[in-house]
Structure formats: structure tokens, C-alpha cells
Symmetry: C2
Subunit: 230 residues, 2 copies
């Protein structure tokens, strides 16, 4: 629970934290001073990666960084707010196991249901409509928010560029939770959390990542999204 | 057919040109010097609106503007490139009638299949996947491109601001056609056409408009989209 605490006081768990997206988010948030619990199926691997992230964040800022690794279930139980950054293939199975430790918490889903073939990326159909809605269906006692879909893992990890260029589209049905996640996004220099609608409109936010893959191929870029006039 | 001609030489038809989106695109393109044929179910109404648009474009630029109105079918037959800006409700029926006049042409679909209820905007399911894919299915001899989904009609019509702030995401399967539509988008000052993938990834580009509706409500804005790092 966030319990009305300011976002910078929250311990943020990152499930799937040893993958590119999870690692990138963890190192950026740790660099911004956020305390991080890094989760993985393999607790030992999580500790190892957490140590590397803590070192990199400390080197970038000159301050100590708090990044600790553990098994996904332990991280889910200990964190105040939990980011789900696992591949879509393992999404439902993981969340089904974490209903209790995630109860009452803000759960931030940044999973993009995508496949790849010879024509590039395409969008996978999710029976619930989107990964975020699947999470909400599986976690009835959590506050599920969709966010952090469009951030290039490459750019997140590249601390030589202290500022990123992009908005985080935040979708969800609970105002306090979307406000909190917007504030969390805003802790990363150059980024901004923008409220972008209810959970029923999560699908296209997730799916837009397939278009960004095409943009990246065509322009040899690490594309992100900005919302104009806001 | 564009016949390899430069985009500024093409006569652009706008079907549904008397609606807010069509009118806004028409006045911006006319202001940029594009010759426009404005289509409507009601040819007389189209002529009337075309006259107003021509006057406004001429007043904004000091140059004569070429904007002529007509029935949708006549416009479809006479234009070199055709923008479809009708409400989704009439989309399939209109295109079914225009298979022949649109054959061989680049058809730019900017239709957003959306509904509204007490919670705001939501996305309508389209059997073909998206409005653009529906157009491609109905117009097998045309080159269908999806584009111009995220431009605020209010900002398009407001010529007191000569420059707009936003990218036009262009999706399609034919490179020459997407290149042409990108060039057309780039004729509007401040806008840029960005290739954003194949037609199978059109759905989320169209659907993102529902999220922009939520952004507009929350921030009292006329939101658009920019792609970063491109």
C-alpha cells in the first residue's frame, strides 16, 4: 500500500527485473533515488543483477543506491508498489501465484503482448483485452495500472544520457493509483506521466509498441512517444 | 494514381469533407497549397463548405486556394489521392460504392472506430481488425494507407496558429504509398509523417484516439502525438 506516502518513500518492486525492460526501469528509478527490490524467478540471479544496478546507479549519482534482489514472490510481498515487467508468455501464470502478496497494492503492468514474424512485430490477442486487464482480472484486490510500455530498454540502460525524451502513458480506473504512477514516472529526468484513460483502453497503449518496433527498424531509432498540447 | 508526380501536384479528395476532421484537413492542406476536392453525400453542401474553406485558406496565405466541392463518388473519381474522413458508421457502405473510382489510387483512411458512453470513449471492434484493414478488404485495387488519426479538428481549423505540433503516424503495406502520404502530412507546417508499420498494426493507431479523448478531458487539451528519437 502507498498509504498516502509520497512516491519517493515507496519501495518499488520490479518483477522480471533481470529482463531488459525491468533492468532498465530499475536502474533509472534507482538513479532517481527510489528504493528498488528486484524480482526474478531465480533469486540468486536477481541478487547478482541488483548488485550491478546498485553499483551503476551509485556511480552515476555519487550517492548510495538501494537495490536488492529476491524471488518474485518475496519481492511482491515486501514492496509497496510493484512493476510487472515479465514477458507476456509468463504473465498470467506469475500473477496467479501472487494474488495474496499483491493484494491492496498498486500493480503497474508494462507488459506488451507481441509476437514477431518475418514482417516484424504484431499484436497478440489477449482474452481479457490487454495484459493490464488480464492482470486486473487475476488480481481483484490490487489496483492495476498500465504504464511504462514505450520506453526503450536500450535508452533506459544508457546512463550516459541522464535525461530521457518521452512520456509515460498511464491507464487505470483508480485515480489515486494513476496519480501515484504518474508521479513515479516523473521521477525519471525528462519523462512525464500522462493520464491516458481507463483500463479498458489499455490494449492500444500496449499494442502501439509494435508500431514503435517498425519505427525503430525504419529510422534506426529507439522511438518513444510524447503527447502534445499537455 | 500519383504516377510518380510530386505530392504538391496531386489533387487531394476528402470524402466526408464537410465533417470536422475532413474540413480541418482540407483547410490545412489548401493553406499549404494543395488542390482539394471536397466530397460529401450532399454535393451542394460540399460546394458551400468548399467555398468557405477556399476563402479562409486564401485569407490566411494571400494566395488563391483551389477547393471545389462535389458528391463523394465524383470526388473519388476525379482526385489523384483520396482521404476518407467519414464517421465509422458509414465507412463500409461508402467504400463499397466506390470500388471502381478508387481503383489504382492511394486511399488514406483516417477513420477512428470509437463509441462513447458515460465513462468516455471506447474502441469499437472491427471484424477486419481496423477501419484501414476494412478499407483494404473492400478496395482490393487501391493502395490503402492509414494516417491523420490524431489531429485535433479544433486545432486543424484554427488557422490563427499557422504551425501545428504533432506527428502523423502512417501505416501501410506499399512503400511508395506510405512515402507519398508521409510527404503529404509534411506539407502541413509543424507536422511530420512518420512511418509506423504495416496495415496489420493499424488498429492501435486508430484506437489510440480514444486515449487522446481521455487526455483531452483530463488536461483540457487538444492532444496529439510525437514520436521521439526520429
Amino acid at each position: 500500500m502507498s498509504d498516502g506516502r509520497a512516491v519517493e518513500e515507496l519501495v518499488v518492486g520490479v518483477l522480471g527485473g533481470t529482463g531488459p525492460q525491468g533492468r532498465g526501469l530499475a536502474v533509472r528509478l534507482a538513479t532517481a533515488g527510489q528504493r528498488i527490490l528486484l524480482g526474478s524467478r531465480d533469486a540468486e540471479r536477481a541478487s547478482e543483477v541488483a548488485g550491478q544496478i546498485a553499483e551503476r546507479a551509485a556511480a552515476a549519482t555519487g550517492n548510495e543506491a538501494s537495490v536488492t534482489g529476491g524471488a518474485n514472490a518475496d519481492v511482491a510481498g515486501a514492496a509497496d508498489l510493484v512493476i510487472v515487467a515479465v514477458p507476456f508468455g509468463g504473465h498470467a501464470d506469475l500473477l496467479r501465484e501472487l494474488v495474496e502478496p499483491l493484494a491492496g497494492k498498486v500493480v503497474v503492468d508494462c507488459v506488451n503482448p507481441m509476437g514477431f514474424d518475418e514482417l516484424g512485430a504484431y499484436v497478440l490477442d489477449v482474452p481479457e483485452g490487454s495484459a493490464a486487464q488480464q492482470a486486473a482480472a487475476l488480481l481483484p484486490d490490487s489496483h492495476v495500472v498500465g504504464a511504462f510500455h514505450h520506453l526503450s530498454a536500450v535508452l533506459l540502460e544508457d546512463l550516459s544520457k541522464p535525461t530521457l525524451d518521452g512520456d509515460v502513458l498511464v491507464v487505470g480506473d483508480d485515480r489515486a493509483s494513476t496519480d501515484l504512477v504518474q508521479a513515479l514516472a516523473g521521477r525519471i529526468p525528462g519523462m512525464r506521466g500522462v493520464y491516458a484513460g481507463r483500463l479498458r483502453n489499455a490494449r492500444q497503449v500496449e499494442a502501439l509498441t509494435a508500431n514503435l518496433v517498425s519505427v525503430n527498424r525504419r529510422y534506426k531509432a529507439h522511438a518513444g512517444v510524447r503527447i502534445t498540447d499537455v
